[in-house]
Symmetry: none
Subunit: 189 residues, 4 copies
């Protein structure tokens, strides 16, 4: 599939897919996505050869979007704790602000239609998480693999996002509590 003409149409399809997946899961029919995107049924397949390709593209698109958010908020940080907290905060905020995006990403994350390659590619977007995760020798995480921290980070963040979505008034408390867990869990005092 050659790069298709309309960048805008591709974007519309992605956005429509996000919305559809958020509300109907990965089984959301392509017809529904097409309708929501304002394109014909067949058009989707000129931009994404199969539905799976589309789903994986959505997955990466969301991860990149999240990535951008985190960079945007990347103020020069005083301390490593500050940087870590800001990563955490922007991650959670992104999910809370754009519920659709967050819900869609959750659905995709657990779906077996997202390939291992896409997952690897997505993880590579967040190198600083790994860096922050670099545990000091006496951290409890020292003997866990390097991406155990990553798993835990997103697991905690997703749980927090999900919870805050239903209890917006507790957003601040939960964000703080979640970060404390992460930070103390790494062996910081």
């Amino acid at each position: 599939m050659a790069r298709p003409r309309s960048e805008e149409k591709q974007r519309a399809i992605l956005e429509a897919a996000i919305h559809a997946v958020a509300s109907h899961g990965v089984t959301a029919p392509t017809t529904m996505i097409a309708k929501e995107a304002g394109v014909a049924e067949g058009t989707i397949f000129r931009y994404f050869p199969t539905k799976d390709d589309l789903l994986n593209a959505v997955f990466l698109h969301l991860k990149q979007q999240l990535r951008s958010t985190m960079i945007a908020s990347d103020a020069p940080a005083d301390s490593i704790e500050q940087r870590a907290r800001e990563s955490w905060n922007s991650y959670v905020d992104w999910g809370v602000l754009d519920t659709n995006a967050s819900r869609a990403l959750n659905q995709l994350s657990v779906s077996d239609r997202i390939t291992a390659e896409a997952r690897v590619e997505a993880d590579a977007l967040f190198p600083e998480l790994s860096e922050l995760a670099e545990p000091h020798p006496d951290s409890p995480l020292a003997d866990c693999g390097s991406d155990y921290y990553n798993s835990v980070f997103s697991a905690l963040a997703d749980a927090t996002i999900g919870y805050v979505a239903y209890h917006p008034d507790r957003a601040a408390a939960c964000k703080a509590a979640g970060f404390t867990m992460l930070w103390k869990g790494m062996g910081h005092p």
Copy 2:
């Protein structure tokens, strides 16, 4: 007077469903489940009127299984920390030992085909989690809602189970690290 309804067959269907859902998600076709269970397709619907009923039954079955495991390992605990750690350990061990069960439970947990009732019923099986979660006033969790802890517990546990499944040699380290996170996150020193 007729052939009695077979407890064993019902079990076979549940087990088959677990396996099928673990590897194909909740969209695993009933034909596949039937074949795996060694029964005719129609038989499934004698035991579970609809596929959704089957899925909810599987969900509760797995939760109960998990529950039993945790009770079985419920040694008289010296301290509250000890009790908490044992809950955590047996939860994670269950998932690690029976990967299918754990994967299926994850798929079901995020599926919108599991009813709110089933979820409530499932949560009621783990009252001690809530009790352990009771935060003291100066815990970071104090201002979060009461089930934020629960969300975090399963999120961390599932992440740990998933990770350990791929890195069995690090099981001990990850289990310990995960619990530390949880424990310290609650404000314990």
Copy 3:
């Protein structure tokens, strides 16, 4: 299938089938019929080898029931018109009185699951209709076949029954009008 033991059970099945067919058409499931008859699903098939056999039996049963009614009301008639009118009246009354029976018979009459043999057998139950129908040479019916009259008789009667079922207050008028049609149509003055 040997004549089965319980005459009573056979009757219960027939009655249940009448009710089920009246309200759900010939597609009424055998399980529903069994339940309504208070017998097990399989029992039906000890009395009637197939569902089609059951339906044909119901058809004949209803025709016989109708037949009995008409005989019962068969007072010694003064004139041939009187006899004809009484036939007509008892036929229509039967349908009006037992709506279920009438509805079921209608459903069965138009169903292609009733065999030609059953239809012939049923017609043979009403020989006097044919006799009454014997047209005099100058009747408009003279050149129609002998059972055209029969068809017309039941067509008119069924239409009348159906109409009266919804407009019970007009029963008398419709019965009279229907008979007039029949009688005058035969060339009587």
Copy 4:
């Protein structure tokens, strides 16, 4: 811009449905209809969202067809009797000429899958039947409801069509006899 929706295909589906319903009743499977129409099974559902929609469309299609026939034969009539007789004749002729159509219409008419709306719409196609039915005060039909005549008209016509289908040589006699019944039954001398 895409392939236009084919009027011809819709027609093929309707015709196939008529044929299938005529010979197998309303339970004729959609696969059979599709095969007979020479289209894929899914295609049926592009033209008719559900099978019930298809059945209702077939019902109306047949009524309209019948309607056209009757209009076509609508010569300027000398008398009201002449007009009535021509209505009757063309109705019966239609059924005799196209046995499938007539059989299908009969099946549909008694089916509970034809909606009340469709029936009302169909009746509205034949306003002159109601007009002709307007009974004079001393008609036997005077005290019956206004659509008793309609019921009787179709009942007689269908019976006649059915009979003539098997005895084509008696068509003329039966048509005449049937009309006489109707006409005399209305109190005409």
